[in-house]
Point group: C2
Chain length 388, copies 2
């Protein structure tokens, strides 16, 4: 069955109940960061659902834990972006993604002293927790993240369009990183039964309809000047690149991040209209716990910067260029291209990401972390912050 138009979809599906609240938050966030000339990335993350009943007991879901999106959001923050993190309710979120299940509770120790009872993190867990906590608190303090949540594909589309309407004012400074696993099929609202389907009535046949492709109005109408990156997940390798290229030709956006379900955590291909570039984690990277999102985001940030420098024209991928971050292993303090963040590294470990995002009259909040451990790096760190 053919898909309806996107206008029809919005006409038939009502906005979610908390829509106006979220729209206000999005508007305020974009206006604030636009005022200071910051770049904003919209990261979508997790899978959307298609309800099979109005009083939803059953639904069709899309496989996605939210790993790609939640990790990427952290790296965009390191690169000085303000981040709208639009995620599936209960999917992985930046920072907390490192501590799933009972990991955090297991790190805690209680010292019972009556009314002066205290709870502390076990000394052997401080090294693991502290860097994440510092980055989390820095992002909070800078007001650099806005989180909004969706569940169904209809909620996702309403939020996506609202975010685009707010991002349009940023022109090419807006980056869209559409990592959510969006349903291709849905059941039109008027064919969804009101109550839970009864197993006594026998097994149901579910007739799905194609979801309209929102990338078309998004690229052409909603945020025509933005740098738009979409994702393509396949299970059949032979379809991967052809489908990525077909999407670029059809929607005229800047990049498709193509990946296979089976290898998505250690291999992706960045496909642009001009070239394609593979990013692969080495066995050592994987063993060291390197996130491939670090390399993906570094490369996209570089291309977005070129796009901005060229006044919005396409920035080509360097032929065969490997992304640098995943392979970084020197002690270093580096300033990212746009002078909006300082990265302090000790070998392959990132000790501090110092966001220099303007957030008010006192531009450049600096977070010092463990700087006393880096005698030789300290002067470099100071140098890095000069001349903002």
């Amino acid at each position: 069955m053919a898909s309806g138009s996107w206008e029809e979809f919005f006409a038939v599906h009502l906005p979610p109940t908390d829509f106006e609240d979220n729209r206000t938050l999005l508007k305020e966030f974009c206006e604030r960061h636009d005022k200071y000339g910051n770049k904003i990335v919209l990261v979508t993350s997790g899978g959307t659902t298609v309800p099979l009943e109005h009083n939803t007991v059953r639904f069709v879901d899309n496989f996605s834990a939210g790993t790609r999106g939640s990790a990427s959001a952290e790296y965009f923050l390191e690169h000085g972006y303000a981040v709208i993190f639009m995620h599936r309710q209960k999917s992985l979120e930046p920072f907390t993604r490192h501590f799933s299940g009972q990991k955090l509770l297991d790190m805690l120790e209680i010292q019972e002293r009556g009314p002066n009872t205290t709870i502390t993190v076990r000394p052997d867990s401080v090294d693991v927790l502290a860097p994440v906590l510092v980055r989390y608190k820095a992002a909070l303090a800078a007001g650099a993240v806005l989180q909004v949540a969706f569940t169904s594909v209809s909620e996702y589309f309403w939020l996506l369009r609202a975010a685009c309407e707010c991002l349009a004012r940023l022109g090419p400074r807006a980056l869209l990183y559409l990592a959510a696993a969006v349903s291709d099929f849905y059941i039109p609202k008027d064919r969804v039964p009101t109550h839970k389907m009864q197993s006594e009535s026998g097994a149901p046949v579910i007739q799905l309809q194609l979801v309209p492709k929102m990338l078309a109005p998004l690229v052409n109408l909603w945020v025509p000047a933005a740098y738009v990156v979409s994702f393509k997940l396949e299970t059949d390798e032979s379809l991967l690149i052809p489908k990525a290229r077909a999407a670029l030709e059809k929607y005229k956006h800047k990049m498709v991040v193509a990946n296979m379900l089976q290898s998505r955590h250690h291999r992706v291909i960045l496909v642009s209209p001009e070239a394609s570039q593979e990013i692969v984690l080495t066995r050592e990277d994987i063993h060291a716990g390197v996130d491939i999102e670090s390399a993906i985001v570094s490369e996209i940030v570089r291309l977005h910067a070129e796009h901005l420098a060229g006044g919005g024209a396409g920035a080509a991928l360097p032929a065969g260029a490997g992304a640098s971050d995943a392979h970084e292993s020197r002690d270093s303090v580096t300033r990212t291209a746009h002078r909006s963040v300082c990265l302090v590294r000790k070998g392959s470990q990132l000790f501090a990401a110092i966001p220099l995002v303007c957030t008010g009259p006192n531009c450049a909040r600096i977070v010092w972390y463990k700087s006393e451990l880096f005698d030789t790096l300290l002067s470099a760190l100071v140098l890095c912050t000069v001349g903002l």
Copy 2:
């Protein structure tokens, strides 16, 4: 389409890859607690999925966050049960359920002192976190919880049968609390496509088949002496009690906990072959954050005890009896019916649940918590632990 038999289901669907590991864990857990004469409850929690593709990108899911199961597991621990918590991967878990999202990170403060950096819980969060942390550590120390996870309905059935095989040795001391939202429909393995369905091929029609009702072999063959409680979730009130009664007649188990999707957090009906009993939280209970699971579990524990005392005969619900725990508001130290846990209350707040589960030669591990705050209660607490 009619459902196949349960034997056919197990013949067609292979066990999950980590099945043997989980079976070993289940066996060891049941043998250990059986040796000390403990009661074991199997709590199933969260929804099962039905994959639409072998390389799963899309699946049909059943709505369930795992609230009922994860909360109930905590209350069963308080009542001295050993708990097998069989839950949907990433659904809510006991103890951590209280701290979703960034709540725990927000409670933490970092004190940077170079190599002596420490992280502590903010003083104003200690009161919230400490009681949960104490109960969590006590359960861990007593080896009183085993967690196993499933995703698909086929994984769920394999684990369920394995758990039953291990629980059978406990006879009537085994309690099954089947709160998971199990798929009624699935796609037989040989009709599931290998690769991701392509939207270019048009919208698919999904022909589902009925899942065989596992409650039949479970009650009659796998754990014939156990106390079995199933759950019924509906969205149409007129179907709720008739369907609960029909299930009891068909499967001959002990109880159906019936609830409506819309009101499930503050109203349930315990339906047994002899009677039905409504549990409703008052407005004050809801405002005070009382879990309805506290009352459900108290009542089921009482009925299970009567069942045990009667040598396995049916224990009737008292006509119109309200469950006591949700309305408890005295300062008290009470010993549960089977002398396996001490509950220390200050008004409506539970300050300590002291599991006295036998776990080895040193029977009755005692966890003291904030006992110095309870001068008048301390002697009662000591009395409570005498005579084990």
